[in-house]
């Protein structure tokens, strides 16, 4: 079963620990600019939204890459970069509708979320579960359960509604 990183932005507190851990785990340094995940913050509105590559099934970035450096791993379910082939042309950055691809000035190549080999660190460290690594086919069940929890809380059953 392919998994996906499910984002629930209403749970994000804007702490950005995901950015620190991502850059540290993948690039060996704490540098939010070199993280594959980014929390977009509207500071004066109190909104914070984690954003990262959505690992599209029919990825635009794969279609536009002139050197076929991008392929989809159907095992884990993610789009991966072949760094032997990448020429850093950045057409994929232009093509992606989500900003899932970014350019790393240190590598001089593009970088994107590659699920940390199957155990995403951002998910591991996200305390509020704004990021969850769940089976893609039943990701909706996670959100439906949480709606149920909201209902329980509304009818005064707060303890039963405690999310695990």
């Amino acid at each position: 079963m392919q998994k996906m990183i499910l984002i629930d932005y209403t749970r994000c507190t804007g702490c950005r620990l995901c950015e620190s851990i991502c850059s540290l785990y993948n690039e060996g340094v704490v540098n939010p600019r070199r993280a594959k995940i980014k929390v977009i913050r509207w500071e004066w509105e109190g909104l914070q939204i984690p954003t990262l590559c959505q690992q599209c099934q029919d990825a635009v970035c794969i279609a536009v890459c002139p050197v076929k450096a991008l392929t989809r791993d159907e095992g884990l379910g993610y789009v991966k970069v072949n760094y032997e082939r990448c020429i850093g042309c950045r057409v994929c950055i232009a093509a992606c509708p989500f900003g899932g691809m970014s350019f790393d000035p240190v590598k001089s190549k593009v970088i994107k979320c590659e699920l940390c080999g199957g155990d995403p660190m951002c998910v591991k460290f996200c305390e509020t579960k704004a990021l969850q690594f769940v089976d893609a086919a039943s990701a909706d069940v996670v959100k439906k359960r949480e709606l149920g929890a909201k209902v329980l809380m509304a009818i005064g059953k707060a303890e039963e509604a405690q999310v695990q």
Partner: protein
């Protein structure tokens, strides 16, 4: 490396900027953050300088771990010579400014001299520019940040700025970043205003090298698990620091009407609880890399804001605001103007008691009715006056020392009712029943303040064997006792100094719970992140060095000695009528306090006048100061 954050010295008179690395010797002695800042103040501040003049300094210091992935490694210390107290200016700020400063390659920014025209600093990836700020002079702290971001073309720029309170030299003006983070007390914003420094903008892409990445990541997870399994982390994550309000109010440990009563006199206390705040709440947010997320997000009148915090809840509540909308609106106003709410509210409740007692009247207040039940009507006006240093607000804006001097012509008793330690106003907590808290605020190196040494463990009734093991000597488990409390307070003072050197948040330490990170955890953070090895004893020594150096700064600049190490006189004279049994009618006993103070000095290695002995200075290598190594 995590240790490669530089010191930048910015001379605002000449425009000269010098950048220096921090040598290892200074790291071992002072670690970073508040520690290195104390060193910089002692070395760069011209002795006896006018706090509002060009010889004063204002320093922004990120912690040695700030910007790393250590839990809540977000804090920045601000300091110099306080225009409010005439002694050490010291204030700690959360949010995201410190981390960004480290990403830009700097750990300390020292500003000296004074600019003729309003300027702001643009700090980015090792470079610092001094830019014209005449178009943002006069703007509030929200607009200033928004305008600079637009001007420099990057929404992710972090900015520390002052509002008009700092520009107008209100003595307790603060430095602000984001919607609510502040370096609140002791008037760092006023120092910036006196230098015509409107803001410091930072943006960095350099990142922080971690000495042992794998170990750091694993240990970070472990530390987060330890922190998040404590009850207090959960309470903070839901109610923020306001969870404390129910504890202190229930016990009778909150004071109203400037400490005349400890039973809420302005209506129904239920209206003041965080539960009553619920209609305005829209969420919880966090500082950099913090999993506890203890700050509220709220919306009132359609305007977004962050907060409340316990401090401000007690501060505004203590003089008569008895509902959330009034508190939130006035707090928002203070944030826009850049006024420290704790300092402002402390002074206001003092003058309101003067008004109550007829010591001052409408003629003095410029027509404002300062009765307790009129607080709703005059608060916004007074805040605005203080920010503009106009009318009666101009007297409030002088700070405690200045105000007492100004109003003493009306009565000799003014000093009794305007309560402070070393010129800084105390919080609305009832400290007088608790010897450890009283000693803490009286001896705090920045004036009446709980963040220097608040021994929260004193309230838990921990068994005496546990306390003896932790503090290295006998400490009574009864919070109304004096026995061993000098030892307890000193231990916490030194420990929190270490925390402020690391730049991690006190709320994730022994400040709140014995189960939260302490020396064993911090030395692991330091080892894995910076590669530096410290034993707990060596860290404790750093804390002692920093605290003693701060004491020396206070003596050099303001002549503070034993005579200034006492809580307000009211703490000795008056007990409070209400509260749970341990609290009723209790006040400090002078003889017992003096004995506790003697023990405190002895433990510190200070003489009977509260000054470090030559042996202590030598042991801590402070006899060489000022050493001008950097």
């Amino acid at each position: 490396m995590a240790l490669s954050g530089k010191l930048a010295v910015i001379d605002l008179t000449t425009g000269e900027i010098t950048k220096k690395p921090i040598p290892e010797k200074i790291r071992r002695l002072y670690l970073g953050g508040r520690g290195i800042q104390a060193y910089l103040i002692y070395n760069y501040l011209k002795p006896g300088a006018d706090p509002l003049g060009p010889d004063n300094v204002v320093i922004a210091s990120a912690g040695v771990l700030t910007g790393s992935m250590a839990p809540a490694a977000a804090r920045t210390e601000w300091g110099g010579k306080s225009p409010d107290t005439g002694a050490l200016a010291s204030s700690n700020m959360g949010g995201f400014f410190g981390a960004e400063l480290k990403f830009a390659g700097f750990e300390h920014l020292l500003m000296k001299g004074a600019s003729k025209k309003p300027v702001y600093l643009w700090v980015h990836d090792g470079e610092i520019e001094i830019r014209d700020a005449s178009h943002i002079w006069g703007k509030d702290t929200y607009e200033t940040q928004q305008i600079i971001r637009e001007e420099l073309g990057d929404e992710d720029i972090k900015i520390a700025c002052i509002g008009i309170a700092g520009e107008n030299l209100c003595r307790f003006a603060n430095v602000r970043t984001g919607p609510k983070d502040s370096a609140g007390r002791t008037g760092n914003g006023c120092i910036m205003g006196s230098k015509k420094l409107k803001a410091i903008a930072v943006r960095g892409s350099q990142g922080i090298q971690i000495a042992h990445p794998k170990e750091a990541i694993n240990y970070c997870k472990q530390a987060i698990d330890q922190i998040m399994m404590t009850k207090v982390a959960k309470a903070m994550g839901v109610d923020g620091t306001s969870y404390i309000w129910s504890v202190t109010n229930t016990s009778g440990l909150l004071e109203w009407k400037n400490g005349q009563t400890n039973r809420f006199p302005f209506g129904d206390w239920h209206d003041m609880t965080i539960e009553a705040f619920e209609p305005y709440k829209v969420g919880m947010a966090a500082c950099f890399n913090c999993t506890v997320h203890c700050r509220h997000q709220h919306r009132i009148d359609g305007v977004f804001g962050e907060g409340p915090e316990y401090n401000t809840q007690t501060a505004f509540g203590t003089f008569g605001l008895n509902n959330w909308p009034d508190m939130l609106r006035n707090w928002h106003l203070a944030d826009l103007y850049g006024i420290d709410t704790t300092g402002w509210c402390n002074i206001v409740r003092g003058v309101m008691e003067l008004y109550q007692r007829g010591i001052i009247d409408k003629e003095v207040t410029g027509g404002l009715d300062l009765s307790w039940n009129n607080a709703q009507e005059i608060t916004s006006t007074l805040i605005e006056q203080t920010a503009k240093m106009e009318g009666f607000g101009a007297i409030l804006g002088l700070g405690h020392f200045g105000l007492i001097k100004e109003l003493s012509k009306y009565s000799d008793d003014v000093g009794y009712y305007i309560q402070h330690c070393k010129g800084l106003g105390k919080l609305g907590n009832v400290d007088r029943v608790q010897p450890s808290f009283s000693l803490g605020i009286a001896t705090s190196t920045r004036g009446a303040d709980h963040l220097r040494s608040r021994p929260a463990l004193d309230h838990f009734g921990l068994p005496e064997e546990v306390l003896k093991k932790l503090y290295g000597g006998y400490v009574s488990s009864d919070y109304t006792s004096y026995d061993g409390k000098a030892r307890m307070v000193r231990w916490h003072e030194l420990t929190y100094a270490v925390v402020d050197c690391t730049g991690t948040c006190k709320f994730q330490t022994v400040f709140f719970s014995p189960n939260l990170p302490c020396y064993e955890e911090w030395r692991k953070y330091l080892l894995y992140i910076t590669g530096m090895e410290f034993t707990p004893e060596e860290l404790f020594d750093v804390g002692e060095r920093v605290y003693t150096l701060e004491r020396m700064i206070n003596y050099r600049e303001a002549g503070f000695t034993r005579k200034d190490d006492y809580p307000p006189e009211r703490s000795f004279k008056e007990g409070l009528p209400y509260g749970l049994k341990p609290v009723r009618g209790v006040h400090l006993k002078r003889k017992k306090y003096e004995k506790m103070l003697d023990e405190y000095y002895e433990l510190h290695g200070w003489d009977n006048n509260g000054l470090p002995t030559p042996e202590t200075l030598e042991r801590l290598e402070l006899d060489k100061e000022p050493s001008h190594i950097i």
